[in-house]
Symmetry: C2
Subunit: 462 residues, 2 copies
């Protein structure tokens, strides 16, 4: 008997109407995925047929680039990622028409209340029977701040401090009720067991939240928490709190370094390597032959609109006016960015390698700075298998250039090749997202405490 | 040819696991409707089969009675309306599995941000194809305040002032995009028409919100806005802003007075009687015979737990310790309540009529102080027809004592009787909630302005 091979896992990263900003112009693209739920529902069924781990929805709480600071009219007009369906509502609706796939929505800690966020994810977890995931982010853009009564965005450090406390409040609220708290006993009239209700009484720097939450505990212990922070402070938060990490890594070496870095960070929080799943992003382009794949790649690369790319560089420039620079000249020294800090470091590194503003913009724009992977199903499988076997990932988050065809091709062409190699599931392992992801189902913290400190358990109630 | 008869309309008011606080103990009750989405989905299908206008979900952002002020342990334990599914997520999920019925969720203006609320309802409106409704409320209980960083609840006046501004911001954001703003033109690369994007730039007393909203305009013009405020200030807000009003009225005279009052208030806002639909609440109890209905009524009345009723009185006492009073004695003078003000006035009136605390508590508890209507289908139809013809209502919001049987009885026994009389639809009138409700589909305010002030339209953009 041979040991079971390590398995790949996949998220489908949804940035409707496509992860390529102008991929929606492709002849195969169906554009209305930004808004038409029936198209999302069809894609959910496709992804579930392909046994993908999850649909993973991007979000922001603004029209990107709508403030004067970053705004360039053509960017706004040509980039399809503008107005779109609100993803927490979308995953709630998708929960009703799917059975197996995990459903992850981004939700910012910068402009929400933890009680509301805790409730919604836990509710979606119940609707889906344990398949909800929260991509915990801090908002990155001034565009968002101005929709929430602020002139300026929170500073990067404060934003993460707030995110960290926000997370702890949400986790605390999710454990408000023990698993068997609700008796619904018609005979005695006891709806719930009072001793199994726990009041949080959180008083922190950013939040004061009493609790208890008014939703019963999760069918999978807790909704999955995903994170994508790649700055030092972001990685530390992920190490302490995330079940799933989404990251941009372009070589096996980078992937290994990132995984090792993350695994070395998690130990101090009493967590082990099996507690966290790391998903680098890739934009996959599949062809039946190598030359077909190459052509498809070049077609999509040629579709990148430079104005979108340059606006992307401008967004990370920390206020330096990129539009006033020669696009075919070098990247000027940037000011410290209060937006995505790790992204800024990445473009500075590209500049040091001699890339022009236009060239950096194209890389940023085409695949949101993730690796573009094109080839035959066999070539793609070889590449991903190498990453898996080198310990450079646990799976990949897939950034399809447009919808729905590249997703369909993934499911019909690439998945079977991986299954033949024994490195991808042939059926879902369990009923819940955590079971499929292979991360632990956490116990209610009060249940654990009760076992050890019986006497103090009651004291946590009124 | 005779003129078409006025038609009744119905909402099913969902306060899971039953509008009667201990109705879940009834032998017919299925208790898990608080949490099990499949049961809600079944009820949605039943309601849609019965051609009901909408499912209307109650909400609060706390475990009711969980703070020391109102808390009475038995109340918390016996009343089933505690932890439950978050209704905005529930209606998003129901949107995916229904085709015709309106889907209304309560959402508080006290502890949310207008940008987030505007986005979610508009998204659900898109998912459902124009069937979303927002029951705009102000939070009523200290229980809620403590979950959102406050020691005390907002004062009644401030709460309504905030609600009014919150509404205006949401409405403004809903009109961020004209109906034909999104071109998705592959050839030109224009995703949207820049001149059809409108930036709100709201700066008010409670909120500063720039916009634009990142969701396209509603398929029904705007999601329906429902309200239930019955205080003077609450009625004024409804008169200015509501499409649908939910109210507690117990006699035809009261219903007529309320409708006349509301209609006289709406005129000054440039609105007419057809712009608003008024739904008193009723708890219906249907029997095949009069005596069966009477027995069912008495069974449910006998199930009211006095501790729940008295706790309900305590909640409206403005801090007077009702638990220290003789339950069979008179209602003491109450302090001004910062909770539901109109409700407090109602119980003071009951006290003046000589009812004891226990008696008042029973009325409050059994049906949330709405009218209990029991009888045969014919008797119920007679009663409702009399209200309709007297101009005392446009329809009723139905508070079923428990689920799902009373809803099923309504659909199979009462609806056919109303249809025979020609006072209830035999099919849905339109595709959207507004069309079925018979209220206007509002035009985008910027479209209207453009027709008259062509020159200024561009000035509203950056």
């Amino acid at each position: 008997m041979t040991a079971a091979k390590r398995q790949l896992r996949f998220g489908a990263f949804f940035s409707v109407p496509g992860c390529h900003p102008t991929g929606w112009r492709h002849p195969d693209a169906i554009c209305e995925t930004d808004l038409d739920f029936r198209l999302l529902a069809d894609m959910a069924r496709t992804a579930e047929r392909g046994l993908l781990d999850c649909m993973f929805f991007q979000d922001s709480v603004a029209i990107p680039g709508s403030t004067a600071v970053y705004g360039a009219k053509p960017f706004r007009i040509k980039n399809g990622r503008q107005a779109h369906i609100e993803p927490m509502s979308a995953i709630a609706a998708l929960a009703a028409i799917t059975k197996h796939i995990g459903l992850v929505s981004t939700c910012t800690t910068s402009y929400n209340e933890p009680y509301n966020v805790a409730r919604r994810f836990l509710t979606i977890d119940h609707i889906s029977g344990g398949r909800a995931g929260w991509n915990l982010v801090t908002s990155q853009a001034e565009d968002e701040a101005v929709n929430f009564g602020r002139d300026q965005h929170f500073d990067h450090g404060i934003r993460y401090d707030r995110a960290s406390e926000f997370h702890d409040v949400v986790i605390g609220l999710w454990d408000s009720w023990e698993d068997d708290a609700f008796l619904r006993d018609k005979k005695s009239g006891q709806w719930f067991d009072y001793d199994k209700m726990h009041i949080l009484r959180h008083k922190g720097k950013h939040f004061t939240v009493r609790g208890p939450l008014n939703v019963a505990r999760s069918p999978q212990g807790r909704p999955v928490v995903a994170q994508a922070g790649s700055s030092d402070i972001g990685m530390e938060l992920a190490a302490r709190t995330a079940d799933m990490v989404f990251t941009a890594q372009t070589t096996i070496k980078e992937g290994q370094d990132f995984c090792n870095d993350m695994r070395s960070r998690i130990e101090k929080y009493g967590r082990g390597p099996e507690d966290i799943r790391i998903f680098p992003g890739i934009m996959p382009i599949v062809g039946r032959t190598e030359s077909e794949a190459q052509e498809k790649y070049e077609e999509l690369r040629g579709m990148v609109d430079d104005s979108v790319g340059i606006a992307g560089v401008a967004r990370l420039a920390g206020g330096v006016d990129i539009f006033a620079c020669d696009p075919d000249g070098p990247l000027p020294p940037l000011k410290p960015s209060n937006a995505a800090r790790a992204r800024q470091e990445m473009i500075i590194a590209m500049g040091k390698r001699g890339m022009t503003i236009r060239q950096i913009g194209r890389v940023l724009a085409m695949s949101q700075a993730h690796r573009v992977l094109y080839g035959t199903p066999k070539q793609l499988a070889d590449d991903m298998q190498a990453w898996l076997e080198a310990g450079a990932c646990d799976g990949f988050n897939l950034l399809f250039a447009h919808y729905p065809k590249p997703l369909e091709e993934w499911v019909t062409m690439v998945i079977p090749e991986l299954q033949r190699r024994g490195i991808f599931r042939t059926q879902y392992e369990g009923r819940t997202f955590r079971e499929n992801l292979g991360v632990p189902i956490p116990k209610n913290v009060h249940t654990t405490n009760r076992t050890t400190v019986q006497v103090n358990a009651a004291a946590s109630n009124d």
